[in-house]
């Protein structure tokens, strides 16, 4: 059994010091991995993420993160990434990593993801260049996620996102902002590739639990949703939801 600790939307910045640290003291005894689902900073400042990195760096378990929209706000996401990686937090964007946990290979593919909406009400890359860029960004990141997941040779596979792949974990948010909270294209990527678990954040007023259309469990680990320093999910190898045969359009 693999124990995954996960949280997103910590929004560290001035005044955040020590918010998490007391709850991390026993984490190494309770979890095999820590996954961070983006929005680790308030405004995307390297000095903000340094406060978090200083609380994480001594944790003796593997840590993997994606960045969120807040982490891009200062246009210094590369520096944010470097600060995290200096604290042994592997940051993924359209990439994957595989971690050996007592002989079980846990593969994690990660992307920030982006918005667009959900089935029946998704934006199209049609019309103005701004609209093409918006939806095109989601398509590009979803394609990269699918490739990263598909390329993983692992016993367990996890998709780590910031934006939501499904509507169910947005329940509680205003319907008007769903297109800014996620995209079904992310779920389609995961369902095409197959996975054991999808984690995301971003939707602070959403719900914790849902499933992709193919049945893969999705958990919204935004800290205001889980209302703890992290949640822990356990996975058994060999029970993965495999992609269904492609059908429909030929």
């Amino acid at each position: 059994m693999i124990r995954i600790a996960a949280v997103g939307d910590l929004h560290y910045g001035d005044g955040s010091k020590e918010i998490l640290r007391p709850s991390l003291q026993h984490l190494q005894d309770r979890a095999d991995l820590l996954l961070l689902a983006g929005d680790l900073t308030r405004c995307g400042g390297p000095e903000e993420v340094k406060i978090l990195a200083d609380e994480l760096r001594d944790l003796p378990i593997p840590m993997v993160a994606v960045l969120g929209n807040h982490d891009y706000h200062a246009d210094r996401e590369d520096q944010v990434r470097r600060v995290l990686e200096a604290a042994r937090v592997r940051v993924l964007e359209g990439e994957a990593t595989s971690i050996d946990v007592d002989g079980v290979r846990v593969g994690i593919a990660g992307t920030k993801g982006f918005g667009g909406g959900f089935r029946g009400a998704h934006g199209s890359d049609f019309g103005e260049p701004e609209m093409k860029a918006f939806v095109g960004h989601t398509k590009m990141l979803s394609d990269r996620l699918e490739r990263a997941l598909t390329g993983l040779d692992a016993d367990l596979r996890i998709a780590l996102l910031h934006y939501s792949p499904i509507e169910a974990t947005l329940e509680g948010e205003r319907l008007e902002i769903y297109p800014f909270l996620g995209s079904y294209l992310l779920a389609e990527a995961v369902d095409n590739a197959g996975a054991d678990l999808v984690l995301h954040g971003h939707a602070h007023h959403g719900a914790e639990k849902g499933r992709t259309p193919a049945g893969i469990p999705v958990r919204n680990v935004a800290q205001p949703v889980i209302r703890h320093a992290y949640n822990i999910y356990t996975l058994e190898a060999g029970r993965q939801v495999l992609p269904a045969a492609a059908g429909g359009i030929s």
Partner: protein
């Protein structure tokens, strides 16, 4: 700030709070009634809650600021959830 029409004041405040780096919080609820501003939503720390009050008061010095935001717990979880 130059005061917008009353109909647009809550959204103007919300935008200011999003873009003020001392706050940068996108999920705040802002309601304005008479000369009172009520703020709601989740925040990560008591310090941030206090800062939100201060920034809102700076923006609208002639209004009463009622900060009803909730500080979210960062305690350890009690258990774990088997998902497969």
């Amino acid at each position: 700030m130059s005061e917008p029409r009353a109909d647009y004041l809550p959204e103007a405040i919300r935008e200011k709070l999003i873009h003020d780096p001392r706050v940068a919080e996108q999920d705040l609820r802002v309601e304005v009634q008479a000369r009172r501003v009520r703020l709601g939503g989740n925040v990560a720390s008591p310090q941030l809650k206090q800062r939100i009050t201060e920034v809102a008061q700076e923006l609208l010095p002639d209004y009463e600021v009622v900060n009803e935001t909730t500080v979210v717990s960062a305690a350890e979880p009690d258990g774990e959830e088997p998902v497969s």
